[in-house]
Homo-oligomer: 207 residues x 2
DNA sequence: GGGCTTACGCTACGACTCGTAGCGTAATAC
DNA sequence: GTATTACGCTACGAGTCGTAGCGTAAGCCC
């Protein structure tokens, strides 16, 4: 995450095991303590490393939590269910399952809050979390266009705006349902949501 | 906010001016410092009150910020623009204008993050912020049904689910656009969003 | 093997924030 | 007046932060 060069040429290499232990310890601390009570000293103790090691690798709490939470989104993928509606329902359920985990809930919202005042942090979040999600929208859209379920848009700028819109609607609705309304994203809800997304409110209200 | 009884019977009453000064100072501190660097001592100094006065009125940082942010949403109202689409566009623009303010951005997300581990805080947020927004959905929906733009739903449980869904989609999309994508909610975006919400993706993509 | 370079563990430190206790004073109700 | 509550102020222990310094460990290259 924080180092792209696996072989910095000379000297003792950084322990990859320590990295994994630290990120796992961070998630565990998020579950048990939440964001505000999480301290780097505590994470270091849980991971079995010295506090100074943490500060050598991450600039602070924000960056550490971003990396720890980002790993949760690795498993996201868009499996082909045969139709656009089924594909959407599948990926929404995956996304919701991740957001349902307590380490994602408390950690993600907190770093997003911090990112409103820290552009570098926002960029880090975008690279390691947001763009990974948005890629799924692009995939699903292209797949649906191949199937003929969605019309192709000639203007690339217009298409980009549409993708952004879909992304904000899908991710926003799931996040809001999970973290603000604090209600479960169950198959029933996902079905209703997909119905609205594809066919609109007026059509969806009269099945 | 924290006291519903305006006349507690005896003794020196609490200064209403101090309340207003503290909440205003909190918002100012949110703008200048952000959530994580905001301290109650600093707020007390800005407001011209003693730190102990803050602790006598609020349990902590979370509750104070909730009240300070909640006041921002007082101005939300659903003006009648003649059609459901216009009504939605109007209220979404209002909502986005509030979220665009830095004191709302950093404060709201942070307390939401904290609320994932604090049920009392979540309830406080629901009462003073979320429910005030959801009321608009109920109003707009009833108005559209009177106009004949939306069908009436016989089953009240089904209707409640629909209102919850609309609320999560609208609020979620705007919040995600503003705070995660960090892109402006301009009239163009609102038009596209309303189009998708009312008529669905397949229809909206081919204007 | 020896030497170079970097990572690690450990300790200690000043600076800061937290939330509370205690006390004298100010403002209202009766 | 008197009772009662709110306020300002000071001081305090506890906890956290991020860093410096030092000795040791683990790899590369000759």
């Amino acid at each position: 995450m924080q180092s792209r060069t696996p072989a910095p040429r000379a000297g003792r290499p950084r322990s990859a095991a320590a990295d994994a232990a630290i990120l796992a310890a961070t998630r565990q601390a998020l579950v048990e303590l939440g964001w505000s009570k999480l301290t780097l000293s505590d994470v270091a103790t849980r991971a079995g490393v010295a506090k100074t090691t943490l500060y050598r690798r991450w600039a602070g709490k924000n960056e550490l939590v971003v990396d720890a939470v980002a790993e949760l989104f690795d498993e996201l993928e868009l499996t082909d269910h045969g139709s656009l509606a089924a594909d959407i329902e599948g990926v929404v359920l995956q996304f919701a399952a991740i957001l349902a985990r307590p380490e994602a809930r408390s950690g993600l919202m907190a770093v997003l809050a911090e990112s409103t005042r820290d552009d570098a942090l926002r960029e880090r979040i975008r690279e390691s979390i947001v763009d990974r999600q948005k890629r799924l929208v692009l995939q699903g859209r292209a797949r649906a266009q191949r199937r003929g379920e969605l019309p192709a848009q000639a203007d690339p700028a217009e298409a980009a705006r549409t993708v952004d819109l879909i992304f904000d609607v899908v991710a926003g609705a799931v996040v809001h349902r999970t973290l603000v309304s604090a209600e479960p994203v169950d198959p029933d809800w996902v079905r209703g949501f997909t119905q609205v997304l594809l066919h609109g409110l007026s059509a969806a209200e009269a099945p």
